[in-house]
Symmetry: C2
Subunit: 372 residues, 2 copies
Amino acid sequence: MRLFQLRGGNMLYAVIMAGGSGTRFWPLSRERRPKQTLPLTSNKSLLRETIERILPVVKKDNILIVTVRSQRRRITSLLPDIPPENIIVEPYARNTAAAIGLAALHVKRRLKGGIMVVLPADHTISDSKAFQGVIRYGRDIVKHEDRLLTLGLKPHYPETGYGYIEAGKKIKQKQKVETHKHSTRTIERFIEKPSLSKAKELLKSSNYYWNGGIFIWKAETILGEIDTYMPELSSGLARIDKSLDNKSSSRTLSKIYKSFSKVSIDNGIMEKTSLGGVIPCNIGWNDLGSWLALSELVKMDENGNCIIGNDIAIASEGCLVHNSRGLTALVGVKDLIVVTTRDATLVCSKKNSQDVKKVVELLKARGLDKYL
Amino acid sequence: MRLFQLRGGNMLYAVIMAGGSGTRFWPLSRERRPKQTLPLTSNKSLLRETIERILPVVKKDNILIVTVRSQRRRITSLLPDIPPENIIVEPYARNTAAAIGLAALHVKRRLKGGIMVVLPADHTISDSKAFQGVIRYGRDIVKHEDRLLTLGLKPHYPETGYGYIEAGKKIKQKQKVETHKHSTRTIERFIEKPSLSKAKELLKSSNYYWNGGIFIWKAETILGEIDTYMPELSSGLARIDKSLDNKSSSRTLSKIYKSFSKVSIDNGIMEKTSLGGVIPCNIGWNDLGSWLALSELVKMDENGNCIIGNDIAIASEGCLVHNSRGLTALVGVKDLIVVTTRDATLVCSKKNSQDVKKVVELLKARGLDKYL
């Protein structure tokens, strides 16, 4: 039994997607200090939490981090324990299909038949044990079958900001995976962010799950499907693969990568492949997509305020306060997100928390780069 | 004519009351950085504006500043052009009757028959010329008569935060002051902050004026009335007067001053004296009693926001923003006052602007002295 676990662990690679800019957590998140590097839910960064959560299943040498050039320095300094060669730097941000393809090359080169679990670096999962159980189950499935598996997170309220997956029939396993209580179901379709009434309808059925962007597959399987459905990306990746041992590999990577289209792995592969499968699970997942999402995770006082440290609330309710430089005082306000950093203050109504990215767009348009 | 003006100027002293703490402008106003020392309406402090406004009527050597110990250093450094002996330091804050009595001692000692105009340091007056005209008129009246004159500011909306003065009949002048268009009326009564319906009623009549705390009288006249109506203060002031040339004057001042009751000049003298008179006038006066009062003076954009510098407002209206350290962004909020300083952020609904002082009280109660 122990031998089996070790072998499974050695076959499994974690590909942690840490290239996001997280503009919706401005002013705390910045271009060089993106969301995944912030300690939003504990005193550890989301990235560090993600690594620690997968470590019981994947050995440290098998953890690969995919990031972009502007974040390389901060990520490297945050992760002194990760071997530098495990940090894969995209020369340009080209969405998830390219990033995952590039990571798959690296996994394939390291181990023929290597399995990879793709993990966003900036989500939270409250039930680590359940999460590790699902990953072990998925790993054991794809070891024996060429499947592209995705986690389907059991929804518990009608969220309109997430994508949903419709799950179909159970897929019979070629080889029984005895020790797990999980199952795999076919993917019937992907549903983009629904309206509230639609989301309520989806919640009633037991066939719809949140799409969390967590995947498990063999590197060769995803590269094969990229070859079928995204031939331009595939040929680019093949050229990158050939160049990786050359002196000029970095220049080749830049040149080819620049030409890649910005396509998500969902649009590019998952919606088209016949190898897809969804593993329904309930692991306390939250994508932390906005200050509002964070405010729903943190502890509130009797007035529904999330007050940290010395901050003061007078005749105020339902507010989230963060001040990394001093003290915030609220007087007579309701349902606000108030964030103060060294050089910027955000005051946003909770109902507009998705619009924080508009602030970042406006700052860019006005050339106020020092606040980006 | 010129000779007359000069003589008038030499007889007139300005007593600028600069001891207020201005807690309602927290976090910009602090114990050692009170409201009157802040550049709220221009790039000059309110105190400096007050001095410059009176300078055409009072020569610089005749400007006396009354302040408290904790503010002496900042006031002195802000006013390098005012002779140090003109800065009168109260050892304790004892409200306006004591402060004015102390200042009157100094004026009387400098010039027998000296006239003093009492000016709060932290108000704004938009029509300086009209203001100077009223002061000249009042000076010319009290030169010939033992009157305690106060300015009655013509109200233009039903403010509930101010005191009102009911004006009675015109007072016949013993000696005609030919060059002025003003008149003096009897003071029938003082009305404390009225309800909104009462304030609306007062506004309809032409007999009610805002009480702005601007007084004109001879030093001997006010000291005489203090002797009549506040004998304890009077005898204390007499002992201070005697000690002023001694080495131990500062110790005597402290000892006696500590024993004074905290009484306003309105309660202690103006409501009782038979020498009172009100000069109705219209000089664009505003006591800047809160962030809301300030927001009504500053220029707004088309959404009713007062945005200074680079600050950003998305889907927001009616907000006042001040950030002395960087940039503020508003998203989807309405009628807020948002003030950020080096170490503190205030987010206050406009309707609660009077409650900002409660923040200061709470900070005191919690021992968070560094934010006071």
